[in-house]
Symmetry: C2
Subunit: 259 residues, 2 copies
Amino acid sequence: MRAPSKTMTLSNPSVDEANALVEKALSQKWTLILVGNCIVHYAGRAKSTLGAGERILIVKEDGAILVHRPLGYEPVNWQPSGCIIHTRKENSVLEVKAIRRKPLEHVRVTFTSIYLAAAFSLKDSAGFVLNASEEDMQRAILLKPSLLEEGFKPISYEKKVEPGFVDVYGEDEKGRLVVVEIKRKTAGKEAVLQLAKYIEAIKSKINREVRGVLAAPNLAKDAHRLLETLNLQYKTLSPTKCAETLRKDLDKKLEEFIN
Amino acid sequence: MRAPSKTMTLSNPSVDEANALVEKALSQKWTLILVGNCIVHYAGRAKSTLGAGERILIVKEDGAILVHRPLGYEPVNWQPSGCIIHTRKENSVLEVKAIRRKPLEHVRVTFTSIYLAAAFSLKDSAGFVLNASEEDMQRAILLKPSLLEEGFKPISYEKKVEPGFVDVYGEDEKGRLVVVEIKRKTAGKEAVLQLAKYIEAIKSKINREVRGVLAAPNLAKDAHRLLETLNLQYKTLSPTKCAETLRKDLDKKLEEFIN
DNA sequence: ATATGCATGTCGCAC
DNA sequence: GTGCGACGTGCATAT
């Protein structure tokens, strides 16, 4: 299926032609792509200058802009959504400028030559589903506490304990309190300290034995040492395994629902 | 200046036409842009699915890929540079797949219709200069210690003190040790705790008065309270001011060099 | 290879 | 609006 009415494309346009297309794209809130030789200036929280070179500029409907060099994952310059976009022809160059309030900053892209100017009215209402996040791990433990350890009984989650929130909070088979800190990737010293902080806070309030368990797919070596020093524990827990557990449970629930 | 030999552009191509362009772009290591209706699958550290919708796909020369929806700063799916890219026509759809080793993961973008297929040989060797980073703040303090406080004398920087590295380490006008923690944005509790950690480590080794100073453009309210509790200090320090200081010094040095 | 901390991080969520 | 932590964070750097 073609959608010619929803696209504008110019190959090797003049600055005037490109400027007209950009103005039209902005006024209609279309997504804009420019490819060409440009320089970029940014000033705001920090400040940057990028000399002349060939790059891709994307301006989205919501005022987000991205400048991509031919290499690398990250944009060299950008501005998040919510910017006000200006365009103008200045002498023989095309200038696209994004201004953001709070914090006040701006990116200015100045094109001296343009290889492609294109604009699109893109429709995208699809849902995005991500599995194996830290939240999935938390839900998996709540659903199947034996993932953490046999006999574990969750009491609450995201419980506020002054310095922050405990991921999961429960009791072990011997009735001792257990504080669980979850990390979806290798846990470092930071994670251990975070857990220790919560334990301290709880111990200072309740006169009762409290165990700390760090659940993560992996543990950094230094973190392991620190964990032992602080008398805390570690449980290997893989995010993808957790996601799997949740998926199976969902399948079961669906089956029950059908029957 | 035009550069037609370095660009290929197809508006509303058939899947076959687009596939041919993509293959050519990949084999020549050109930067590739596809705009059209697609679905996206990702599996690796996590797992995701994105239903049908209109998006922009960028494949860079170095194997980085980005899938951008019409809204927002962030790509909805991506892969950093170093991926191996495959493309193929399957029935009436175009499939572009990026595979990464370490960690092993992949993104698969399946186009059912294509509004634009374009490829470019982009040249970009310009330097990128960024000012007002945390490193700039550190260098500014070392260059002009009075930015921190009158009479401050730096001794070292990035000094290892067991749990990590002290940003700047010196003496105040009364000969007391000063440990400085720098943050380029609002400092939260985390920053305060980091500083406290260093102070503790140093105090436990040296029997001498030690002051802790948190230098940041701003201080979170809770962090302020914590700072007072721990008897630490705060000094307002703006990254842009620091960058300015460095720039002026550079100007001076250049002038001296010329004379 | 692993670990550690910065980033113009961005984003979402709770207060 | 502020604060706080997660992120498929990515990235450089030091060990």
